[in-house]
Symmetry: C2
Subunit: 139 residues, 2 copies
Amino acid sequence: MARLHKQIVETMVTSSGLKMTPQRRAIVNYLQDATNHPTADEVLQAVNEAFPMTSRATVYNTLHWLTEAGLVREVYEGAMVRYDPNTDRHHHFVCRGCGKVEDIISTQSGDLLSLSVPNDYQVENLEITFRGLCPDCKT
Amino acid sequence: MARLHKQIVETMVTSSGLKMTPQRRAIVNYLQDATNHPTADEVLQAVNEAFPMTSRATVYNTLHWLTEAGLVREVYEGAMVRYDPNTDRHHHFVCRGCGKVEDIISTQSGDLLSLSVPNDYQVENLEITFRGLCPDCKT
DNA sequence: TTGATTGCAAACGGTTTGCATGGGA
DNA sequence: TCCCATGCAAACCGTTTGCAATCAA
């Protein structure tokens, strides 16, 4: 289990000589419960409701830092970056109807897959993107 | 086997009431032998060497049409669209050293994987992105 | 001939950057 | 106090769009 958590961030931030600001707190707060793989802009919107007047630059700064620190994962979907607070090995389903991105829990499949890659390649991780229609859009 | 081929494009274009222009020919020509998953801009550069004065808009137009026609596949890599003339089920390895995108031939894996997805989701296809270091960058 | 296609340049949308101001530690 | 972080606005970069000129069929 590796899900973004407020306390972890607080300690990691301060222990690396950085500062914990209200803006960062608000961003982490929102992100830790987010299940919708928000874009930077969605984070900005949401945070500005909870904590008005957070700038775009700050949101990007924080997201970059969180990514760097391995507390959040970037998901590239259709030439747009989304942020996922769940850094466990898991996969994504992208609905071509509504565009929603949902988590697919990884079964044992993972390790099995490395077999397809020539062994002079050093595979560090893999992501599977399923595409199709979600239950709501299927009808 | 479903690899972009000049002749196929010619017939598909004309049979759908479109026109075959020198620019389109040049783009298809370049793409059909490309193994590097070029970006739109790389296509533009390359085509302008072979056939000077092709505009950005034309490249995008053609790439969109080719994608729509299923003759080419868009690969989303790091918030940037790349184009792949190979539309067969296959996967990609992205090197974190040099950024190169290489093809990984799909083994039997495909159908097996759908199992991880709840069956009220209608999976139409899946892509696997392996990340790590290629032989050259591994040292 | 004529409608699809092109080239151009401006617009667009997400992301990045520079810099002066502000605020944690 | 001292830097780190913030807000702002302009810059950036890939992509899209509008439009008049052009050219394949």
